[in-house]
């Protein structure tokens, strides 16, 4: 049971970390791009939205599996 909880913590933690790093880079590039060429800012925002949709797809699946382990697998395990 302890290992299952560690697995859940790793899945959620690393999922959040990966998303956070990706979004930090994306946000930084958006600010940089908007400062360099302000007229492209709306276009950059739209592109960023598209990339953001792809960026967090895999971590979200990991979160779903982590919740499954936490609420379905762990209660069935012997303590």
């Amino acid at each position: 049971m302890g290992l299952a909880l560690i697995a859940v913590a790793l899945m959620i933690g690393f999922g959040a970390l990966g998303t956070a790093i990706g979004f930090a880079i994306l946000g930084g590039k958006l600010l940089e791009g908007s400062a360099r060429q302000p007229e492209l800012a709306p276009m950059l925002q739209g592109k960023m939205f598209l990339i953001a949709g792809l960026l967090d797809a895999v971590p979200m699946i990991g979160v779903g599996i982590a919740m499954y382990v936490l609420f379905v697998v762990v209660p069935g395990l012997p303590a």
């Binding site: 908007s34 302000p38 800012a41 739209g46 960023m48 609420f71």
Partner: protein, 139 residues
């Protein structure tokens, strides 16, 4: 409201590429409901598992999209980045809560169907956004 205030207003969105969010998320909801209606006579549990899985994907994505397009333009670059971060953290928390609530409260549940619907709607979201992104590039 003066002209200067109007220009600085968050609603002053000029020529921004903005995907038709209502159409995209409405289409996803409709498709999920259609799949559920088709599955209902065969297996009721699979039918509501499909709806739940689809909605777990649609609701956080719609919240994120709503947050992302609150501001637009170079004058609001900082607010845009901030609303991106707020939207993403909200999406993450909402997804965790919805999955947790589903697994804790809904019994019986077909987990495989739930994840399949979740993945299908997520892929559909990516495809629709990419399609509208490519369409905006052509214009």
């Amino acid at each position: 409201m003066t002209a200067e205030e109007k220009r600085k207003s968050p609603r002053a969105v000029h020529k921004i590429f903005r995907p038709p969010l209502l159409k995209i998320y409405g289409f996803q909801c409709a498709l999920v409901l259609l799949a559920s209606v088709i599955l209902f006579p065969l297996d009721k549990v699979a039918a509501y598992s499909t709806v739940i899985g689809g909605m777990i994907s649609v609701v956080p994505n719609a919240y994120f999209a709503r947050q992302v397009f609150r501001y637009a333009g170079a004058a609001f670059a900082r607010e845009v980045a901030r609303s991106f971060y707020r939207g993403e953290s909200g999406k993450f928390v909402t997804t965790v809560l919805l999955f947790a609530a589903t697994f804790a409260l809904v019994q019986p549940l077909q987990v495989f169907v739930l994840f399949l619907a979740y993945l299908a709607v997520m892929l559909l979201n990516a495809v629709l956004l990419a399609r509208y992104g490519l369409a905006s590039n052509k214009n």
